[in-house]
Amino acid sequence: MIKAQITCPSPEHAVLELDGLFDRNSAHKVRRDSLKLAQKQGSRELEIDLTHARCIDTSCVAVLLEILNTVRKQGGRLKLTGIDENTARMISLSQLDEIFEDVIVAEKK
């Protein structure tokens, strides 16, 4: 299971913090919560913090891509923080490094 918590450090910046297993059983929940938040953020910044999430299959890459598409369509900015090495490799395996290049922020602020 996965928990998703929303915080807004500033009016321009919303953070969705994920905690738990991000896999094909929980991906639909992450998708629903994050797309809803992305809609609300519009052209502002959305950060997804994966520090406490563990991505174990390719459904998480697919959902992250959907979020990215939604955010970009609205002229907003997506930031992924706390991505572990394994998730990064999964993105690589899916040949999506370039698409996520500017989105992945190595360190959590």
Partner: protein, 265 residues
């Protein structure tokens, strides 16, 4: 520490209508590693695979999955096990009435609650892994044999299986595409920690990808070990296979004549 075995095959015997084709087959399949099953045509590789995926029930002998006897699995447990595995059959096997993308989406639609768009993306990602993302809307009949084979692999990967079984993945592929598949199998092991079981005739590929090799001859395991151990094995049959020597084909002259004469009756 040696890797622990996810699957343990112990003294497996296999029969088709009383004719024995596997004899006391014993070996382990290490977790998060690539195991290659090799051997001449007809030696029993596909049969062994059918046992490993629970399609053919074990007679004498056992297959232990995480220490549990696969032969004693209830329907429910077998279903759970099948959800952990991905299989590419020797023949490929796709639904002819669906596009490649739809073929790959089937298991995801049946077994998960993922949104259609997520499933669409995952299907295209899997097709991309096997070099077919430009063909996602094609029907199987519009593809070459090698492409269908790769599409079958993409479907086996749809659910990110914990254990992947592939029967002759590179038969019918050109050397470059085949090398790409080898790379993919290694990437899957690295990235997703997949346990991979490959049946192949291709020596070069086998030695490139295998952590463990099981060589079978006429239904018996003749060598088991890492690639170096297999290369160093002095068994005549192993060396014959490795050196691609033609079989001196010992025929049973009586039964040969008998089968020739039978035709007249």
């Amino acid at each position: 520490m040696p890797p622990d075995d996810l699957i343990d095959v112990r003294g497996l015997k296999s029969f088709y209508r009383g004719r024995q084709v596997l004899f006391d087959v014993t070996f382990g399949i290490p977790r998060h590693r690539v195991t290659v099953i090799m051997g001449a045509s007809g030696c029993g590789k596909t049969t062994l695979l059918r046992h490993l995926i629970g399609l053919k029930r074990t007679g004498p002998g056992q297959i232990l999955v995480d220490g549990e006897d696969l032969g004693a699995f209830s329907e429910g447990l077998l279903k759970t096990y099948r959800r952990r595995i991905g299989v590419l059959f020797q023949g490929g096997a796709l639904f002819n009435s669906m596009s490649l993308r739809e073929n790959i989406a089937v298991p995801l639609k049946v077994h998960t609650k993922l949104a259609d768009e997520t499933i669409r993306i995952m299907a295209v990602m899997k097709l991309n892994m096997v070099g077919l993302s430009d063909f996602s809307e094609f029907m199987p009949s519009q593809l070459s044999g090698g492409m269908r084979k790769r599409a079958g692999l993409a479907r086996a990967l749809a659910m990110d299986p914990e254990i992947l079984f592939v029967d002759e993945p590179s038969s019918g592929l050109d050397p470059i595409t085949a090398a790409g598949l080898d790379r993919l199998l290694l990437d899957l092991r690295e990235t997703l920690g997949m346990t991979v079981v490959v049946v192949t005739h291709e020596l070069e590929s086998a030695f490139k990808i295998a952590d463990r090799i099981v060589m079978i001859d006429k239904g018996k395991v003749i060598v088991l070990g890492d690639p170096d151990a297999v290369r160093g094995c002095t068994d005549e049959r192993v060396q014959q296979f490795l050196n691609r020597e033609a079989d001196t084909h010992q025929i049973n002259i009586d039964s040969y004549y008998e089968s020739l004469l039978d035709k007249e009756l």
